[in-house]
Symmetry: C2
Subunit: 174 residues, 2 copies
Amino acid sequence: MDIATVNTLPYEDFVNIFGNVVEKCPIVTAAVWSRRPFVSFTDLEAAISEFIDALPESGKEGILRCHPDLAGRDLQSGTLTRESQQEQAGAGMDALSSAETSRMVRLNREYKERFGFPFVICARMSDKAGILRQLSERCRNERAVERAHGIEEVKKICRLRLQGLLLTDAPNKL
Amino acid sequence: MDIATVNTLPYEDFVNIFGNVVEKCPIVTAAVWSRRPFVSFTDLEAAISEFIDALPESGKEGILRCHPDLAGRDLQSGTLTRESQQEQAGAGMDALSSAETSRMVRLNREYKERFGFPFVICARMSDKAGILRQLSERCRNERAVERAHGIEEVKKICRLRLQGLLLTDAPNKL
């Protein structure tokens, strides 16, 4: 889909297609529809990023809290969004040993108890070893640092989800 | 559920229970979890209201765009959220004559073309005749007026959904 086509979409189609580029936060996509026309893919991505940056800190934490745990309850029970399922599986989160699962569950719990939001990482830009290392290291950060770090990861996830949707049938038009 | 119990909920349970008090916008509930402890039901409601008011205008439009049409495609296809389904049915939206359905579809379309967001009304505080009258009248408003009006309706819907969840098993504790 090229950006000219994106600009012609009624908000309902726009939200249906792009509503989960920020996990479970269709409000973000629905809000930036007001910013049409977008001159490029990068312009749409920037509008999303600016909307997120303009939220109060509680709103940024709200975005993080809409994310599932990595290798958590939703993965086990099959209730992840389609996008999260693919991303977690791609990083090997659905094929952990029982020792790895236990470690991940323990670290996720520690992280959430410390910060009040979940550990968020762009799984497609990492792998099992990298995710476990980051989770272990980031547990030691300050809350504000980790909130900002999480939001940067949200933006990376968003960029890759957007690319996947926009490049599907017209990669040379962006 | 009393407010003391609400204050003890981990964010995951809080979002699971209250995540749809603003339609398809769990970020709102997830954000206000940061404001605990709440001293009362009214305090929780006020936190949600303040979060919405602090959003940029595009964010308020984003909230409106996460709402389904009344007597629209989602009602016909059974893809409304549970809450919307009950509210629309309660106002008779699932039992319109074919003439009424046609009129509703036409007015919804006019409204969306004019404003770029859907007509939102607290269906539980109205009925079929009232909804059709309001839809017809509000089509003539200015965009900024209608955006503000829609957000006030979102808050009424939120209040009733919250009451329903909180009063289920402990009405005298709030």
